[in-house]
């Protein structure tokens, strides 16, 4: 161990005492639900089986973890606290400067890389399941970021607007046969209309009340979708939604299809790649609009509102209207994403729009750093892409047994990550904010210097 001048000796007796208490506590916490498992037997009666080895393992991990914390992490933390605040090293500033153009360049050539590496067969999966899926969440994260990150309004019912967009596209396309490119803006407008409708009465509420009411609205919309069977077909969902065309040219193997018109051999990957670039474009538009809006008076008012609502009111900012614009703007992007989702899947049902989905998007925004565009994008890649990769890791099955399904643990980890991030870095992983107004030179400021007021 390093012996610095400020280095504190680890109190061994205390460390073991703490570890002992943690072990006991973990035993008490995990005994009922990890030590015992309720399963049904052949006659469908509920029976109890014991899992002592698992319980023992979990408790041991907790105790040893506490010991490790006392011996390794605590001294490290106390040493770090004593170190003078370091200025950002140049290599980090360098990476920060070039990261965004590099990332955009990478996502643009991503389909080509995947095809070059894996051939068209496997590329469909990587572009569709991985690329498009992640980009949808990046876009949703950026949309919610306007509401949560910029305006400081905690919206727990964001998925409702996503649902409005998806159902608008599905119903209008099936009933009136309208094209994707007409319905895309229309879905956005309808979603933002719902945002205004729901937002108007509730936006004068305090932050935590607002969160719960948006949650209630999200659930109400979902229950209505489930029960209004005549319109939405209830749980069964809407099937065979028209797929988007290449500006009028359908992606099929017929005479007038995309492949024939451009003289290519027909392959399902054409549509996938087209969809990939559509969602990439939509996501970039979201980011671009957000960045520009931050420099407009309304964007500045949003951020001022996040910092201190009372001060805003005393300065004559109409807080209700300002919040409403943020809410409507966020809802609009959710509507775009929703209509894209419906067009890509070809099938939607209320299952896709549960509270869990709202929670996933919210955790992406929270983990990425509320207000930080790059942070949200990285969080979406890590969380959504990470779970997609987890699905493929077969060697985990060898370790934990054949019934092990890593995706089960996805939300468990998301929830835990949200708690840990709030404790460890409440501003998110990327905690710098780019100032939109500056005197002489633009400098990124650490978000911990930014005060957050009532929201």
């Amino acid at each position: 161990m390093a012996t610095g001048a400020h280095h504190k000796r680890v109190d061994v007796a205390r460390a073991f005492h703490d570890a002992g208490i943690t072990t006991l506590l973990a035993f008490g916490l995990f005994l009922p639900l990890v030590g015992f498992e309720t399963t049904t037997n052949i006659r469908n009666d509920l029976i109890l089986t014991t899992r002592w080895p698992l319980l023992f393992a979990v408790v041991a991990v907790a105790g040893l973890g506490r010991l490790a914390y006392s011996f390794l992490i605590e001294p490290w933390l106390s040493q770090r606290a004593l170190r003078p605040v370091a200025t950002t090293p140049t290599w980090r500033a360098y990476i920060g400067k070039w990261f965004t153009p590099f990332a955009i360049g990478f996502v643009i050539v991503y389909p080509a890389i995947v095809i070059a590496l894996g051939g068209t067969g496997r590329a469909v999966k990587w572009v569709d399941n991985f690329g498009i899926q992640v980009l949808i969440y990046v876009m949703l994260g950026w949309g919610l970021n306007i509401v949560v990150g910029l305006a400081g309004l905690l919206d727990l019912g964001y998925v409702a607007f996503y649902a409005v967009g998806a159902y608008s596209y599905a119903l209008l396309a099936k009933t009136f046969g309208l094209a994707f490119w007409i319905l895309l803006p229309l879905a956005g407008i309808l979603a933002s209309f719902w945002g205004i409708l729901l937002g108007f009465p509730v936006l004068r509420l305090r932050g935590d009340y607002l969160a719960i009411v948006t949650l209630a609205f999200g659930e109400i919309i979902r229950i209505v979708i489930i029960n209004w069977v005549d319109l939405t077909n209830g749980y069964a969902g809407i099937t065979s939604i028209p797929r988007p065309t290449f500006f009028g040219i359908p992606f099929n193997s017929e005479e007038n299809g995309f492949a024939a018109v451009f003289g290519l051999e027909f392959s399902p990957i054409h549509r996938t790649i087209f969809l990939y670039y559509v969602i990439l474009g939509l996501a970039l538009v979201t980011a671009f609009v957000t960045i520009r809006l931050r420099r407009l008076p309304v964007g500045r008012a949003w951020e001022a509102l996040r910092e201190d609502e009372v001060a805003c009111r005393s300065l004559g900012i109409n807080t209700t209207n300002t919040k409403l614009t943020a809410f409507a703007m966020g809802a609009m992007f959710a509507g775009f994403a929703g209509s894209f989702f419906a067009a890509r899947q070809g099938f939607i049902s209320p299952e896709s729009f549960t509270f869990l989905e709202s929670a996933t998007i919210l955790s992406i925004v929270v983990l990425g750093g509320m207000g930080s565009q790059i942070g949200v994008a990285i969080a979406a890649v890590v969380m959504i892409g990470g779970t997609e990769i987890l699905r493929d890791l077969d060697f985990l099955k060898d370790i934990f047994g054949p019934t092990f399904d890593p995706t089960q643990y996805r939300m468990l980890l998301f929830g835990l990550a949200m708690v840990l991030i709030m404790i460890w870095r409440p501003r998110g992983l990327i905690a710098t904010r780019d100032p939109s107004v500056f005197l002489k030179e633009r400098k990124a400021i650490a978000a911990s210097l930014v005060k957050e007021g009532h929201g």
């Binding site: 015992f36 399963t39 029976i47």
Partner: protein, 305 residues
């Protein structure tokens, strides 16, 4: 009339369960000003603990007396749930005091997701149903061939709720612990200056909230005989609605709000549409917050700069 009376009985039963959960919301909100979003899931966890305890008693130990089993299950569930909530407060909420305003709420949402998925992973995603613990009913009267009944289960719920509320009221109104709690509610810094251990008081508040949620969880399991990992969310939101309706921070308000929500839900299901019963409860929440944010018995809250 007889249908209405029957629904009244059902509604009060359901409302008692909501009321017990709502007290947890209202107490925690009163003392640290946060919406404990994970409280509904603590309730669900308590129902699972009660389920495990019940199965241990019946299948491993062979207890045949239902009254004894129910009593032991209640105590066990209260103890273990208190431990769970105490730990949650210690790990997820205490480090966030003094952080920005939405931090505890986001942490609580994370905790809520964690708890429900933890139960899903450890106990499986299926509904867990047990054979009815208590059977039998009193027929109060019969009119037009429609018997108005009060089942033994419902009577147990009423009695247990009433006894616990009396104990709880005594605790808050008459003991030094209750005084410390009310002092922390008014002004934490001042309470600390006059010698109240604020951290300990907050911990005990979470423990009491969890114990009452555990009672609700046990009664829920006994009443419906089925529980699943997702059962924390909707009752949690409804109990929060009850707390808001009664005026958040007000203890009698939480109980009355709970009973009102229970009545609204059962009457709505009986007379309008059972599919939209959750919509009714959620709409009450929105309407209350918009038009009567201080609730029926709460004080209007003034924002200080």
């Amino acid at each position: 009339m007889e249908v209405f009376l029957q629904q009244l009985i059902n509604g009060i039963t359901l409302g008692s369960i909501y009321g017990l959960i709502a007290i947890g919301y209202t107490m925690v909100f009163g003392i640290i000003g946060m919406v404990n979003f994970a409280h509904g899931d603590v309730f669900m966890v308590s129902a699972f603990i009660a389920l495990v305890a019940f199965l241990i008693l019946v299948s491993f130990l062979g207890v045949s007396s239902i009254a004894l089993a129910l009593f032991v299950v209640l105590i066990v569930a209260m103890l273990f749930t208190s431990l769970v909530n105490w730990t949650i407060e210690r790990l997820a909420y205490r480090p966030l005091r003094g952080s920005f305003r939405l931090a505890p709420l986001i942490s609580a949402i994370g905790m809520s997701i964690f708890l429900s998925n933890f139960v899903q992973v450890t106990q499986g995603p299926r509904n867990k149903s047990i054979p009815p613990m208590v059977q039998g009913e009193f027929v109060l009267f019969t009119k037009n061939d429609y018997p108005v009944t009060l089942s033994h289960k419902q009577l147990i719920i009423w009695v247990v709720t009433a006894i616990l509320l009396a104990c709880f009221w005594y605790l808050v109104a008459k003991t030094s612990l209750g005084r410390a709690q009310r002092a922390c509610e008014q002004d934490q810094k001042m309470a600390a200056l006059v010698g109240v251990d604020v951290d300990r008081t907050i911990s005990i508040t979470f423990v009491i909230a969890a114990a009452l949620a555990a009672v609700a969880g046990t009664l829920y399991l006994m009443y419906y005989g089925v529980v699943s990992f997702a059962d924390g969310f909707v009752p949690g939101v409804k109990a929060f609605t009850a707390a808001v309706l009664g005026g958040i921070g007000s203890l009698p308000g939480a109980v009355i709000g709970g009973i009102l929500i229970g009545l609204i839900e059962t009457l709505w299901s009986a007379y309008f549409s059972i599919d939209y019963k959750d919509v009714a409860a959620f709409s009450v929440l929105a309407i209350t917050l918009i038009f009567l944010p201080q609730g029926l018995f709460g004080r209007p809250d003034v924002e200080k700069v």
